[in-house]
């Protein structure tokens, strides 16, 4: 019961903070709302009985990625953007119609079949040992490629942000 309550509260909070993130003028406020959005996503992950992943999500996303965002926003010292004054009514209609149609397509495609459980408390706890074994066994190539990707991203971001090439 408590799990369902947390689930509903966290999902409503996630939707509200996502809406507030994409509509703020000032990027600093948008960053703070995105941080609360990511925390509510972590709460949603923990209601699925994936507690370790929710902790990792808070550590990596909120602790590392969003602090990097906040650092860059404060470093650049931006002015408030003029919020879409010159957009015509047709463009505004298009900008709201396109995501709604994508949402309808996704909801239409994702019909959960052969699910015979309806409550969150009926979910099984997935063994973390099997998951990490698969990471180093079945998906070892993907793991190695990701480590190469991180090195390349470090080199690339230094090269792009450097003053003179």
């Amino acid at each position: 019961m408590l799990r369902e309550l947390f689930f509903v509260a966290a999902s409503l909070l996630a939707i509200l903070t996502a809406l507030l993130t994409v509509t703020r003028k000032n990027p600093i406020y948008a960053t703070f709302f995105l941080i609360s959005h990511l925390i509510s996503i972590a709460i949603l992950i923990s209601t699925l009985k994936l507690y370790y992943l929710s902790a990792i999500h808070i550590l990596v996303y909120t602790g590392a990625i969003m602090i990097l965002f906040l650092f860059v926003v404060m470093l650049l010292n931006l002015k408030e953007e003029e919020l879409e004054k010159d957009f015509s009514i047709h463009l505004k209609l298009l900008y709201t119609l396109a995501p709604i149609s994508v949402m309808v397509i996704i909801v239409g495609q994702l019909k959960p079949q052969d699910i015979n459980l309806s409550k969150l408390s009926q979910l099984n706890v997935i063994s973390f040992e099997n998951a990490t074994k698969a990471l180093f066994d079945k998906y070892f190539l993907a793991f190695e490629i990701v480590s190469a990707l991180i090195i390349l991203a470090i080199i690339g971001s230094i090269l792009i942000a450097k003053k003179k090439v």
Binding site: A18, A30, L44, V102, T132
Partner: protein, 98 residues
């Protein structure tokens, strides 16, 4: 209750899509991409725990590393654009380098 996760991820994905196509600030577009990324991540973890399959958890680590790379590159591109143009309005940017 579990079926509503599908609806929530679809709503979050479309909110992120709305932000990505309607805003002009480069940083807010990057944040909208993060919202879309997190919606698909939540969908992956939900499907993984519904079908009792540990592969979703394995992919969680790979996906989170790719997201970190994406953010690092995007923010350095933002710094490069700001150094040249002194703003981040993508409708006024013509080129990134000389």
């Amino acid at each position: 209750m579990i079926n509503t996760v599908y609806l929530i991820t679809a709503v979050l994905f479309s909110i992120g899509l709305y932000g990505a196509i309607s805003r002009k600030n480069f940083l807010i577009i990057l944040m909208s991409l993060e919202i879309m990324f997190n919606a698909s991540l939540l969908l992956l973890l939900t499907a993984s725990s519904i079908y009792n399959n540990p592969d979703g958890i394995s992919f969680f680590f790979i996906i989170i590393a790719v997201a970190a790379c994406e953010v690092a590159l995007g923010l350095s591109i933002a710094i490069a654009i700001f150094r040249k143009e002194r703003h981040l309005d993508i409708s006024k940017i013509k080129q990134m380098t000389n």
